[in-house]
């Protein structure tokens, strides 16, 4: 009799555990909270063109141009 009670108790505990885990699994699968992140595309090294003096330029003068006081006064002039 005592063995029967113990066996029933163990069976009850095990069945409850299984049922609970199934419920949890079901809940998890219906509300997927995983966030998928798009793999980042590898970015190559940025190229910063230099002005005539080997610096990154000033006053908005682009590559190949330099800011100086020339024939037209202050402005961007070609190198």
């Amino acid at each position: 009799m005592r063995k029967i009670v113990m066996a029933l108790a163990i069976a009850a505990v095990m069945s409850g555990s299984v049922a609970t885990s199934q419920t949890a699994y079901a809940a998890q699968s219906s509300h997927d909270t995983n966030v998928y992140i798009q793999p980042a595309v590898p970015i190559g090294p940025k190229v910063q063109m230099l002005d005539c003096y080997g610096t990154t330029g000033s006053m908005g003068c682009g590559p190949g141009w330099v800011w100086r006081d020339g024939w037209r006064g202050w402005g961007c002039y070609p190198c």
Binding site: D69, G70, W71, R72, G73, W74, G75
Partner: protein, 181 residues
């Protein structure tokens, strides 16, 4: 007494009438021989403060006209504007030829190319005889005027041709406006 007063009044009116007829009411018009408004300030095509004008020289070397020197604020560049006002277009053309011949001996390694400014426009580029300066000269005639614009700068910094032509066009326009006034 009354008759004398009236006579005086008529005389004064007659003098005023003759004065108006001869001189006209053209306050804005340039008086004959007034060349002060002829030169075009290069600051019109710069950042507006780049050049300082020296006092104009009227009738340079005894020739009717005006010469003005504009010096860059850093002292490394100079623009000399010389405008001769001659009796007619033929005299202006002859003066232009003379100026070109004079420049040919003044500029080393010179190159001359036609310039679409005024009449007979040419642009001469080269160096000073000692090689220390770049020299660019734009010369052209317009009616009875002969103009030379000389740009002197550092040897490695000659005047850009677009600036030379732009100032030349503005000077040509100013001369035509002056002639029409």
């Amino acid at each position: 007494m009354k008759a004398r007063t009236m006579a005086g009044g008529f005389a004064a009116a007659a003098v005023m009438t003759v004065g108006v007829a001869v001189g006209g009411f053209g306050y804005a018009a340039a008086a004959p021989g007034d060349f002060s408004t002829l030169p075009v300030d290069p600051n019109l095509i710069t950042d507006s403060l780049a050049y300082n004008a020296a006092p104009s020289v009227f009738n340079p070397n005894g020739r009717p006209g005006v010469e003005t020197v504009y010096i860059h604020r850093d002292g490394s560049r100079q623009i000399t504007s010389t405008i001769l006002v001659l009796p007619d277009a033929k005299a202006a053309s002859a003066a232009l030829d003379g100026a070109k011949a004079e420049l040919a001996g003044k500029v080393a390694n010179s190159k001359t190319q036609p310039a679409a400014v005024g009449s007979g426009g040419t642009m001469l580029t080269g160096m000073s005889p000692d090689g220390s300066k770049s020299v660019t000269v734009l010369s052209f005639a317009e009616g009875n005027t002969a103009t030379t614009l000389e740009f002197d700068g550092a040897a490695e910094d000659p005047a850009p041709s677009d600036l030379v032509l732009e100032l030349g066009h503005k000077q040509d326009t100013a001369i035509r406006d002056w002639q029409a006034s």
